[in-house]
């Protein structure tokens, strides 16, 4: 490098047209020689010499080096630049640069930069390797944020301030922290000889820091819209769903636990789920088998606990469900009687069921009738009956004409549905009729008023048609 500098200086002198009038070293005596690589065509005499090209100059230097080595060394000595001594080397300064809020949430975007100043001449600068180090809340030592160092090359400092700034893309936020509190950041950098920390410098003006202290906090999860989906009031075996909406500003996975309390306030059951924020958590009673027959007639309450591994909270106790008492009724002898033995589709059918209440308290029970044929699957008869059941047997009767002509010649089934459980724990009883609906389609006889009327109209219209056509077209 020093040789290069020397040659540049020589070239500068020659190109600028000095009055030396050609650099013909001649022999050791210094007199001009027959070296034809003269800078001037005139030889001798200063001023007005022609400019030399670089290639010519290089050829000339080489010839001097070969032919006049002593003179060449003398020239080099005159032009040689003294090297810088390492004793004047100034260790570069590195600080953290940060100009955001120092109290941030875990999910908040942070931009931390490293700023370096290197006042050494470029010739003696060294490449700088640096790391960002972090001390997490509750920790006592720093650790590197990334495994790979970043570099600052010797020529990457600004000319005016001899400084440069670098960012840390690997540090976007503190979401990975599982604790909250004070986080400290510092720089560690080396040029291969000197190892330094940004903490070596004191009283640094902002936005620069020898070490950066950030207060990192966590946004806790939130739960809202607590409700129970299902019948109201339900029976113990009705499907119920506990639902709630869950959110977390930090986007953390949330653990939600449902606690069901009995009427004494003691916890009966609990169940947990992990859910992403923004979703609805749902606990189905059937899936978790929260309730059994023993719970009929009882009142329950519930609450949730929920957390993101940093903050754990609980809701207030909410009311529900309140189960209906488990009334059992006794049903027997379901039967159907057609109007007559013919079982025509248009006839009335009497559907009957004997019932009584097994509990001493009276209860209102609603009964519904359904019939099913191949053409009409489980059609509900339009009327239902609500009966006050006592321990005395009663007969529930439905007089219905539930079939139409498309059911003729088919069998059928029927079902009584009731609003309380029977002795088998069911809420309906299904029976298949052993006979068939009569295939006869037309409900009247020909020799009847309706039958003869039908025929008479056809004949009359034919006659009228004949009269009309004859008068209109045949005359």
């Amino acid at each position: 490098m020093h040789k290069r500098v020397a040659l540049i200086v020589i070239a500068f002198i020659l190109v600028s047209g000095t009055s030396l009038g050609g650099l013909t070293p001649g022999g050791d005596s210094g007199s001009g020689s027959s070296d034809s690589s003269s800078a001037s065509s005139g030889g001798g005499g200063g001023g007005g010499s022609k400019q030399i090209s670089a290639d010519s100059f290089i050829r000339m230097l080489k010839s001097w080096q070969n032919n006049y080595p002593i003179k060449f060394d003398e020239i080099k000595t005159l032009l040689y630049k003294e090297p810088y001594t390492t004793t004047e080397y100034k260790v570069p300064m590195g600080l953290i640069r940060y100009d955001q809020n120092k109290t941030i949430s875990r999910n908040e975007k942070v931009t931390v930069n490293a700023a370096f100043w290197n006042y050494n001449p470029i010739e003696i600068r060294r490449v700088l390797y640096f790391y960002l180090e972090e001390m997490d809340p509750g920790e006592t030592s720093y650790k590197q944020v990334s495994t790979q160092p970043q570099l600052v090359q010797t020529n990457e400092y600004g000319e005016k301030e001899n400084s440069t700034v670098r960012g840390f893309p690997e540090l976007e936020n503190f979401r990975r922290l599982k604790t909250t509190g004070v986080v400290k950041l510092r720089l560690k950098y080396t040029d291969g000889i000197y190892d330094n920390f940004s903490t070596d410098y004191k009283n640094v003006p902002q936005p620069y820091y020898s070490y950066l202290t950030l207060n990192v906090f966590n946004n806790p999860p939130l739960i809202s819209n607590l409700s129970i989906i299902g019948n109201d009031p339900p029976r113990y075996k009705d499907p119920l769903e506990y639902v709630a909406d869950v959110s977390d500003p930090d986007g953390d996975l949330i653990n939600v636990t449902l606690h069901i309390l009995d009427d004494a306030g003691a916890e009966k059951r609990n169940a947990s789920q992990e859910i992403m924020p923004g979703q609805r958590v749902a606990f189905k009673s059937g899936e978790y088998s929260f309730f059994s027959e023993a719970d009929a007639g009882k009142n329950f309450t519930y609450y949730y606990t929920y957390g993101d591994d940093i903050n754990v909270s609980r809701t207030d106790v909410a009311s529900g469900p309140h189960f209906k008492p488990n009334t059992k009724i006794f049903v027997e002898n379901p039967r159907v009687e057609p109007e007559n033995m013919n079982c025509y589709w248009w006839q009335k059918y009497t559907f009957s069921l004997d019932v009584r209440n097994q509990n001493p308290e009276d209860v209102n029970v609603t009964f519904k009738l359904y019939t099913s044929t191949p053409k009409h699957q489980w059609q509900k008869y339009k009327d239902s009956q609500t009966v006050r059941l006592t321990q005395e047997p009663q007969t529930i009767v439905f007089d219905a004409s539930p079939f139409d002509v498309s059911d003729a010649s088919h069998g059928f089934s029927y079902s009584f549905n009731y609003s309380e459980s029977d002795q088998h724990g069911n809420d309906n009883i299904v029976v298949a009729y052993t006979g068939r609906i009569n295939p006869k389609l037309i409900k009247y006889d020909l020799i009847s008023l309706l039958g003869l009327f039908n025929l008479a109209v056809v004949l009359f219209v034919s006659l009228l048609g004949g009269i009309f056509v004859e008068r209109r077209f045949y005359r």
Partner: protein, 194 residues
């Protein structure tokens, strides 16, 4: 069931033969007149010249007879599933068929749909000198047709029960009525060839 369908085919063919014979007669007359005439004429003019009045009462009765013949025909073959299991009134429109006016609805429908054909058939008679005896026979034909129609309607009311002899009787009555109603054409053919 195949025999019933065969009988249906017979009845349809008889009508078609009757219509065909009518045109054969007309053509024969046309040829005969051309052979003996020394002037040019067209068929239309000949047909107009051949027309004979048959009388209002006669026309009215045969119009009614033909209309009812078509109704009775459809009642016999297409009212119940006894002949065609799928293509029948009871199967296709059970709700209407089983109603209080099911039979008359079917009858009126046939009258409307076959009206053009039924009321056009007697037009053929105006080209024939129908004898008084033949006219008398033809005027009586509504009676067997009504009987056939009533029998078919009765079979519909007792369905799914059936009575083969009733059905055959209704069918035979219809075939007889059909042939009698085509007598003028048959007689015209016989006279022309003799």
């Amino acid at each position: 069931m195949k025999f019933e369908i065969f009988l249906l085919g017979v009845m349809v063919i008889v009508i078609l033969i009757g219509i065909g014979l009518h045109f054969v007669n007309l053509k024969r007359i046309n040829d005969q007149v051309r052979a003996t005439s020394d002037r040019e004429f067209d068929m239309k003019a000949l047909m107009k010249a051949l027309q004979l009045r048959q009388g209002s009462n006669f026309n009215t009765w045969v119009l009614m007879a033909w209309s009812m013949l078509f109704v009775a025909f459809f009642f016999l073959f297409f009212l119940t599933p006894s002949v065609f299991q799928t293509w029948n009134y009871f199967e296709r429109l059970p709700g209407i068929a089983s109603g209080g006016s099911g039979l008359l609805t079917f009858g009126l429908g046939v009258i409307i749909l076959s009206g053009v054909a039924a009321f056009s058939m007697p037009l053929m008679y105006r080209y024939y000198a129908v004898s008084r005896r033949t006219k008398r026979w033809m005027i009586y034909m509504p009676l067997p047709i009504i009987l056939s129609l009533g029998t078919s309607a009765y079979l519909g009311t007792i369905y799914p029960e059936t009575n083969y002899w009733y059905w055959m009787g209704a069918c035979i009555l219809l075939i007889i009525a059909e042939i009698v109603l085509l007598l003028p054409i048959i007689e015209g053919l016989v006279e022309g060839t003799s």
